[in-house]
Symmetry: C2
DNA sequence: CGCCAGGTTGATTTCGCTCAAGCAATGTGG
DNA sequence: CCACATTGCTTGAGCGAAATCAACCTGGCG
């Protein structure tokens, strides 16, 4: 359950697809001229606070969502109420395309973890763009392929690797985006709670806590709230190659 | 390791995209006229025997593959040698599109489980078709979206459900394609070994054997080689709703 | 101040893995 | 045609990683 479902929105600063730096990293980079103008017209920008929901699993898909800034968690819940954190989405990434193409409702719930600015592209315009510009579809195909690849890797990881190894993997993927290097040591500030980490690794919060203290007593990492200190990247890398 | 990697091929009977019944269930159903003619020209048909490899993980992607008849297993192996069966592909389904769109090599190995006839569509032609006909790309986007959805469901299942429940799920999904109803009881002939079932559920062959005998002593199912008898579908359905 | 969600720690249990042995069916070569 | 290897399957014994249940701590906040 997201911390807050209130519809409080920070007033977004003025954005435009023409000036958006993120656009060049995204699928929309293939658009020019009239196509880009259509995108601009179909866009709505909304600012979300931490804990606010961007869209909810099962709701009809309104369009796709571009993260201009911030971090968004995608959660999936099954009928029995079990839930996992499918993945994190960062600035420059597009959300909800899976649901747009697949039809039906959203397959997961999206929740902003930190203050985030997100543009929403309305379905009709997107449909039109895709039919006008095959290159856009190809970009989405590429994106979706990589996501599928990542999902399959994640299945394989879950069945074959220990929680400790998976946690090491997670920290290593987070370091690029949230880490600051201070000489030899590396400091990262986690964008999420331990419960979220547990949901991401397909385990329980207690297990995360235990694994963290085990790694701390081996001096591989040092946690303090959401601050993680990694004295030697070398040691952390050794965690994922146990042989 | 596939049973056989010999390049022995049964002579395929003459096929054509124009007469292919499977085409209407597939992405290619949106093609007409010159596009369809291009598809026909880019097609090569190959017949595979059980255990033969259609393509291997890591190899460069030659194009996409359409299953005209048969059943194909898609396996994925990680660096440490752990392997899972990602999914099964049946007649009318297209394989290798993920790898085509994502670039790089094939992300998994495809192996025919039963005698199968598979058409290969060469990359260049596919690229051209996608640029000429945006609707084709949309069909692939839809397909890929569903696959991603299935992969995420599978992650959720693996972490939250017991092997017994997952096995019940598997039998229920197989019943539509491989089951024959005999009055009240249902008989299905599995297209795969128990080892494959284990790989599909992310577990070990021993665990599958144990789970099967547990379910047999509860009279939910009855196995005899690859023949499974389900006296009451009701009972099997109860397995997946334990409350 | 007390509440509460998030986090930690401990004790116990359990599910599934590992290792190991044995069996049946199939295939192979002498 | 038999001896032997191979492959798939089953069963047993023991173990271990992680889940569960439960208590307790901590910091933020109304």
């Amino acid at each position: 359950m997201p911390r807050s479902q209130r519809t409080y929105h920070r007033p977004p600063k003025q954005l435009s697809c023409y000036t958006c730096q993120r656009r060049h990293e995204s699928e929309w980079s293939v658009l020019t001229g009239e196509d880009l103008a259509l995108l601009e017209r179909a866009r709505t920008t909304i600012a979300y606070g931490p804990g606010q929901m961007v869209f909810a699993q099962g709701n009809p898909c309104r369009g796709v969502h571009c993260v201009e800034s911030g971090t968004v968690a995608l959660r999936k819940t099954d009928a029995a109420g079990n839930s996992i954190l499918v993945r994190l989405a960062h600035s420059g990434q597009t959300l909800g395309y899976r649901d747009f193409f697949g039809g039906g409702g959203y397959g997961c719930t999206a929740e902003a973890l930190v203050p985030s600015t997100i543009c929403e592209i309305e379905s009709g315009a997107l449909q039109q763009l895709l039919l006008q510009n095959p290159a856009l579809g190809l970009r989405f195909l590429e994106h979706l392929s990589h996501d599928l690849d990542a999902a399959e890797d994640s299945i394989l990881q879950n069945v074959s690797l220990s929680v400790r190894t998976r946690l090491a993997h997670l920290l290593l993927t987070l370091k690029d985006r949230y880490g600051v290097s201070e000489g030899e040591t590396l400091v990262l500030s986690l964008p999420m709670t331990r419960q979220d980490m547990a949901a991401l690794l397909g385990t329980r919060p207690e297990t995360i806590a235990r694994t963290i203290s085990a790694m701390e007593s081996d001096a591989v990492v040092s946690f303090s709230g959401r601050q993680v200190t990694i004295p030697s990247l070398e040691n952390l890398l050794n965690e994922i190659e146990p042989n």
